[in-house]
Structure formats: structure tokens, C-alpha cells
């Protein structure tokens, strides 16, 4: 009996060891057009490096929650993951969950010679740099754009709006609820709406924070709320306060809205005939100017990093440099219209020549937006999640009342809770 047990144990151990010889890494990515692009190429990586990749994908908020929970319990088996520097970067850094990538970059044995880290946009590297060390490689930039229906604009004799006043006039003209046709959609669900409201806010000369304190009580902030609320209540689809990007995308793909302001990432999905009923009737324009100027956001939306507690760091770093390599990100821009955070793909003549009309328009909005841009689309603080939840109701109320409510008292309360959050993290007044 004893001998049988022992033999069984030995067999089990042998099997386990054979299994362990091939390296396996666990990679967590967000449901993003970049991930859609990368997924079919992963077998190529597995063949080249002899590493098996276990891929999991999640929506952005679930990804954050999953990563944080795993890291906080210190039992995580995550090796490589996508991360939002503006949303969770500071928190991850403070808790020591990112691997410091600077030593790898200095080591020519680890980093491929043609990786060319200097090719990443400087500002994009900056948001993942703490104490002069790089903790994540930038992947995707996003800026706010206006998607519009070329057929409806032509029929109404309209040109893409360049100011908020023109935007509202166009939205008004293109709204016809009897035909289920609405002028414009943008995010109205509190927390997710904060980032897409930001460009409207900047157009009114407002900001979330000023001098390290909440600025949501300012006349500029209230004016932006009034405009955004009125626009979406009067010319937006019903139920807009429940909408994030996914709902806006579906409505645009279904041909129910004439305009959509959201991140630049979605072009590929609205021009894909398999997904969109209006694929050949889409135009992209730069975000219009507000009464106080044109300062739409332009941010590093996603980066990729290695988990500090990963036990397969060498393989993980291979994956990281492969997935963010020049060749890969050039392909991502060319094939999937992913706005990559490297400079060279954007000046690659082969890529530019192969662009179709809408891709060219998208590239134009980028070159128009970059010189004006604001480098963040949400309050820059550690407790971003709580701050977005605090600000969200202001936007929801503005939409519910069509911008007619006096929101000063509500804004005052929100300002108080934002200041409490800043204070708790030692960021108040800084």
C-alpha cells in the first residue's frame, strides 16, 4: 500500500515538472481595439519565444478591480497587464505593484536593440514615470473627437461644427424623435461621463482641480454643466444618463444618432461593415472650440507593465517588448486604427499612404489636437475612482434637468467631498 502511494506521488511530481518546463505567463488585457488586434498575433509570440500565454480580457473597470484585488492579497499570478496610468498609476506605484522597468531598459541583454524606447511620445512616458524610473510602457493615446454622419450632414447642408454653438445648432437640426433620430450622444452615466465631459469643461475655461483644490463650484464648471446637460437632454437619445461608451457606440452603429463625442479609439468599430450599419457614412472631426478656447484632452489612455510579484519576469518582459515594439505598434496603427503612443508609426510613409479617408481625418484631428491639448481627462489625484463617482452626479443632474437647474449648492457639496479625498491622500493644496 505504502509503495503504491509513493509511486503515485512520484508519477504526479514527474508530470508536474514536465509541465513546468515550458514557461507559461498570465496576461491580463482590457477589452480594447488594441487587444482585438493583438489577440490573433499571440500564437506568433508563443512560437518565437516558446512561452505559453494565458490571456484574459476584461472591461476596464473590472480589469482594475481584478488587478487590485489580486495584488492586494499578494497571491496574484498575473505577469503582464494593461493599465491606465491616469486612473490607477499612482495607486499601483504607491503600493509597489508595478515592476520598475528602468533597469531592464538599461540592460542590452534584456531589451532588444531595435526597441528604441526614445520613440515613445515623451509626454506619454512621463505619466508612468515616478522618481525618474519608468513603471509602464505607453501603449495607446486617446483624445476626444467628434464622430458624425456624413450622409445626414450633407442632407441637412451642414459642415462639421467647429464651435460649441455650431455643435448645438447641428444637433438641433438633426434631431427627430419621431424617426428615432437624435442629434448627438455622449456619455451620461456619472462616473464614465467625467472623462468625456472634460473637453467640454476645458472649452468653458474650467477644470476639476485648481491649486490642489476642487474647482467644481467655479462659474466655468457650472456653465459647462449647463451646456452639456442641455445638449444631451434636448438633442440626445432617451436614457442618456445610463450611457457609457458602449451604449453610445451601439447607437451610432445602429444609425440612431448623428454625432457622437467620445475617445478617438472607436473609429475602427464604426467603420467596420460587419459591426456598423453606417460604416461608409462616417466622418471624424476635431473636437469643437468652446467659448473660452479649444483645449480637448489628449492622454495616454493605456500602458502595459509587469507585475512586481511575477515569477516569470524574463518571459513577461519579452512579451512586453514584443507587444509594444515598433513593428507591432506600427501594424496596430495601420491595420486597426489604434492611436499608438510611439512617434515613428505616425510618420511612416507606408502607413500614411495606406490610410483610407476616415483614417486620414483621424490623423488630422490628432495633429490639430496635440498643440492645444490638455494632458488629462479626469482629476489628477490618487483617489480618482471616488472622485469620479463624486463628480458624476453633477453631470447626471445637469442632463436630467436639461441644464436648467441651479447646481451651485450641489457643486458645493461635491467640492467638499473632493477636498476631503485630496486631504486624506495628503494632496490638498498641492
Amino acid at each position: 500500500m505504502k509503495k503504491i502511494l509513493l509511486a503515485a506521488l512520484l508519477v504526479a511530481m514527474a508530470v508536474a515538472m514536465v509541465g513546468a518546463q515550458g514557461t507559461t505567463i498570465r496576461v491580463l488585457l482590457s477589452n480594447h481595439p488594441y487587444t482585438e488586434f493583438l489577440k490573433p498575433l499571440i500564437p506568433e509570440f508563443e512560437r518565437t519565444y516558446g512561452v505559453k500565454v494565458n490571456l484574459e480580457t476584461y472591461d476596464e473597470n473590472q480589469l482594475s478591480a481584478k488587478l487590485m484585488t489580486e495584488f492586494a492579497t499578494r497571491m496574484s499570478t498575473v505577469d503582464v497587464f494593461m493599465t491606465r496610468p491616469l486612473q490607477e498609476g499612482k495607486l499601483m506605484y504607491l503600493n509597489g505593484w508595478y515592476e520598475n522597468l528602468s533597469p531592464y531598459l538599461k540592460d542590452s541583454k534584456k531589451t532588444p536593440r531595435d526597441f528604441d524606447f526614445g520613440d515613445f511620445a515623451q509626454s506619454a512616458v512621463g505619466v508612468s514615470t515616478y522618481a525618474k524610473n519608468v513603471y509602464a510602457f505607453p501603449l495607446v493615446t486617446e483624445w476626444q473627437v467628434l464622430y458624425y454622419r456624413t450622409d445626414l450632414f450633407a442632407a441637412a447642408g451642414l459642415k462639421p461644427p467647429t464651435t460649441f454653438a455650431e455643435l448645438e445648432a447641428a444637433a438641433k437640426k438633426l434631431t427627430d424623435p419621431s424617426k428615432d433620430q437624435y442629434g448627438i450622444v455622449s456619455r451620461g452615466q456619472g462616473n464614465p461621463a467625467v472623462t468625456q465631459f472634460s473637453s467640454y469643461l476645458y472649452g468653458y475655461g474650467g477644470d476639476f482641480l485648481k491649486g490642489g483644490k476642487a474647482a467644481v463650484e467655479s462659474p466655468e464648471f457650472l456653465a459647462a454643466l449647463k451646456y452639456y446637460g442641455g445638449l444631451l437632454k434636448n438633442y440626445g437619445p432617451p436614457g442618456v444618463t445610463g450611457m457609457s461608451w458602449a451604449q453610445g457606440l451601439s447607437l451610432f452603429q445602429a444609425g440612431k444618432v448623428a454625432m457622437w463625442t467620445d475617445a478617438s479609439t472607436f473609429l475602427g468599430q464604426i467603420t467596420d461593415p460587419a459591426k456598423s450599419t453606417v460604416a461608409d457614412k462616417v466622418g471624424v472631426a476635431a473636437f469643437p472650440a468652446g467659448p473660452k478656447g479649444n483645449k480637448p484632452y489628449f492622454v495616454t489612455a493605456w500602458a502595459m507593465s509587469i507585475a512586481k510579484q511575477s515569477r516569470q519576469k524574463a518571459a513577461a518582459y519579452n512579451f512586453l517588448t514584443w507587444a509594444t515594439s515598433k513593428a507591432m505598434l506600427t501594424k496596430a496603427l495601420g491595420q486597426a486604427s489604434v492611436a499608438v503612443a510611439r512617434n515613428s508609426p505616425w510618420s511612416n510613409p507606408g502607413i500614411l499612404a495606406a490610410f483610407d479617408a476616415t483614417q486620414k481625418q483621424l490623423a488630422e484631428t490628432a495633429s490639430k489636437t496635440i498643440p492645444l491639448a490638455t494632458g488629462y481627462d479626469r482629476p489628477l489625484m490618487t483617489a480618482v475612482g471616488a472622485a469620479r463617482d463624486a463628480i458624476g452626479p453633477l453631470i447626471v443632474t445637469a442632463i436630467e434637468t436639461g441644464g436648467t437647474a441651479n447646481q451651485a449648492a450641489q457643486a458645493k457639496k461635491v467640492a467638499e467631498s473632493l477636498n476631503e479625498l485630496l486631504d486624506a491622500a495628503g494632496e490638498l493644496g498641492k
Binding site: S64, A65, L91, L94, G239, V240, D389, V396, T397
Partner: protein, 292 residues
């Protein structure tokens, strides 16, 4: 080597051991750990390790107006959903207790919502409730009514969510009641009929009291479940618009996975735990008073 004697001598320890280990690992430990976390100031946004702070997290939670709104909403949602499910479920059970053609098929159909995945239900109902392209408003308009903003109107969202719960869980009450009905003796009915009682009197004075223990069991199970509803709300509204459908469980989820205030989240969950526990105690006492 385990010989027979050893096994015999320690059987009273060995046999219950798996159950004891299971209970300790999966029930006692998580509750005890949650209590411990609730007594700390663990907050991931500070980057500091947890520190014992006594009841401070509890104080922070009860001072948050969102906690109390969520508390009231939890009771409102549960009361609304379970009351409607109980009435409808008992009616269903009475109908199914009769013999009619196709009874088997009806019973099977009734079971379908029970076995569906909650998140899939949430996603389907989100489409159903979509104000522009959804079936619910199409139906309302077809009978000449105005469409509703089911999931984004603050006044409508909780009843709309309760309706999903109703759709999914009424069959459970019906099945439990049906089991209760099946076990009833026929004698009281015969004597009632001899005494000239009508159908309603028979139901009210005989069937209902006799089947009450089964119905109460269903109510207890459903209430405990409804008090901690998470998946349906999370997959439809995330607690919105502006927290108008945020229940205690969603609130605790936000505290932990959105704000990373793990101490406060644990404290809020202990309140939910106490709520569920006291509710069970009340219903158990009720059952004992009814003499069952």
C-alpha cells in the same frame, strides 16, 4: 499505515473532520477576517499597511449619507420584490396544483428563469429596457402608452429592477408552495365542504394556514437573497443613475473595488450581515409562533 483499529478508535474525530475543516475554511474564516478588516483603516490608495483603528471605519460608514440611502433602498427593493413574488408565487402554485393539459410543459417553462445566469439575465433585460430600441417601450407604445426610461429614471429604476427579480424568482416561491400543497391532507377540505364553505373561505381558512410554513420558508430564502442582490443591479445600472439604485451590496462593492477603502467596505458588509441575520431571526420566530 492506517489499520482498522486506528480508524475505529478515532472514527468520531476522523469522520466529521472534512465537514469541520470545510466550515472553518469557508465560513468561519471569511467572516472573522471581514470583522478584522472592518476594524482596520486598510485603504489601498494610501499605500500603507492596514492598522487597527477600532470602530472608526464603522463611524465613517454611518456618517456617509450614501450608506443610509443604500440601506433604505435595500429594504425597499427587497420588500417590493419579495411581496410581489410571494403573492404571485402562491397564485401560480394554486394554479399548478390543479390538473390540466400541458401541466408538465408549463412547469418546465416556469423553471427556466431559475436556471439562467444572473449576469446574462441582466444583460438581456438591459436590452429589453433600452428606451429607443428595446422591447419594453415598443410594447408600451403598441398599447398607446408612453415609453419609460426604465433604468435611467430615478423613480422607475428600483421597481424596474424588482421586476427582473420578480421574473426570475417567482417560480421559486411557486415551487416551494407547490411542494407544501402536495403534502396537505384532504380531510379538512372534505369537512369544510360538508359545512358549506365556498372556495375563497376554503383557501383563506384552510389552505393558506396549512401551507404557510412552506410559503414562509420561501419568503425567508428569497428575502435573504434579495437583501444581498448584486449581479442583476451590477450588470444593468451599476447602481446608477447617480446612485439611485445603489443597494448596500453595491455600495460595499464601490467602497472596496472602486475606492479601495477596504476597512470601510468590510464595516458596511458587517451591517448588511447583521441586517440579513436579524431578518432571519424575525422570520424564524414568526414560524415558531405559528407553531410550525
Amino acid at each position: 499505515m492506517l489499520d482498522g483499529k486506528l480508524l475505529d478508535r478515532h472514527a468520531r474525530i476522523l469522520f466529521p473532520l472534512p465537514a469541520v475543516v470545510f466550515t472553518l475554511a469557508l465560513l468561519v474564516f471569511p467572516v472573522a477576517y471581514t470583522v478584522w478588516v472592518s476594524l482596520t483603516n486598510w485603504n489601498l490608495t494610501t499605500g500603507l499597511p492596514p492598522r487597527f483603528v477600532g470602530l472608526k471605519s464603522y463611524a465613517a460608514v454611518v456618517q456617509d449619507p450614501r450608506f443610509w440611502s443604500a440601506f433604505v433602498r435595500t429594504l425597499y427593493f427587497t420588500g417590493m420584490a419579495v411581496a410581489a413574488e410571494t403573492v404571485l408565487g402562491v397564485i401560480w402554485a394554486l394554479v399548478l396544483n390543479r390538473n390540466f393539459a400541458g401541466k408538465g410543459i408549463v412547469k418546465t417553462l416556469l423553471l427556466l428563469p431559475l436556471v439562467a445566469t444572473p449576469v446574462a439575465i441582466g444583460i438581456s433585460w438591459t436590452l429589453f429596457y433600452e428606451p429607443t430600441i428595446g422591447l419594453a417601450n415598443w410594447g408600451l407604445r403598441a398599447i398607446g402608452l408612453q415609453g419609460l426610461n426604465w433604468l435611467t429614471d430615478r423613480g422607475v429604476v428600483l421597481p424596474a429592477l424588482a421586476l427582473i427579480d420578480l421574473w426570475q424568482w417567482t417560480p421559486l416561491i411557486a415551487l416551494i408552495t407547490l411542494a407544501g400543497l402536495a403534502g396537505l391532507s384532504l380531510e379538512p377540505y372534505e369537512s369544510a365542504r360538508v359545512d358549506g364553505a365556498n372556495g375563497w373561505q376554503i383557501f383563506w381558512h384552510i389552505t393558506l394556514p396549512m401551507v404557510a410554513p412552506a410559503v414562509l420558508t420561501g419568503v425567508l430564502l428569497r428575502s435573504i437573497d434579495a437583501l444581498k442582490t448584486f449581479d442583476i443591479i451590477y450588470s444593468t445600472t451599476l447602481g446608477g443613475p447617480s446612485f439611485a439604485s445603489e443597494t448596500l451590496n453595491i455600495y460595499s462593492y464601490n467602497l472596496s473595488f472602486n475606492y479601495f477603502r477596504l476597512g470601510q467596505a468590510a464595516a458596511s458588509l458587517i451591517f448588511l450581515f447583521a441586517l440579513v441575520l436579524s431578518f432571519s431571526a424575525v422570520v424564524s420566530r414568526l414560524r415558531r409562533r405559528l407553531g410550525v
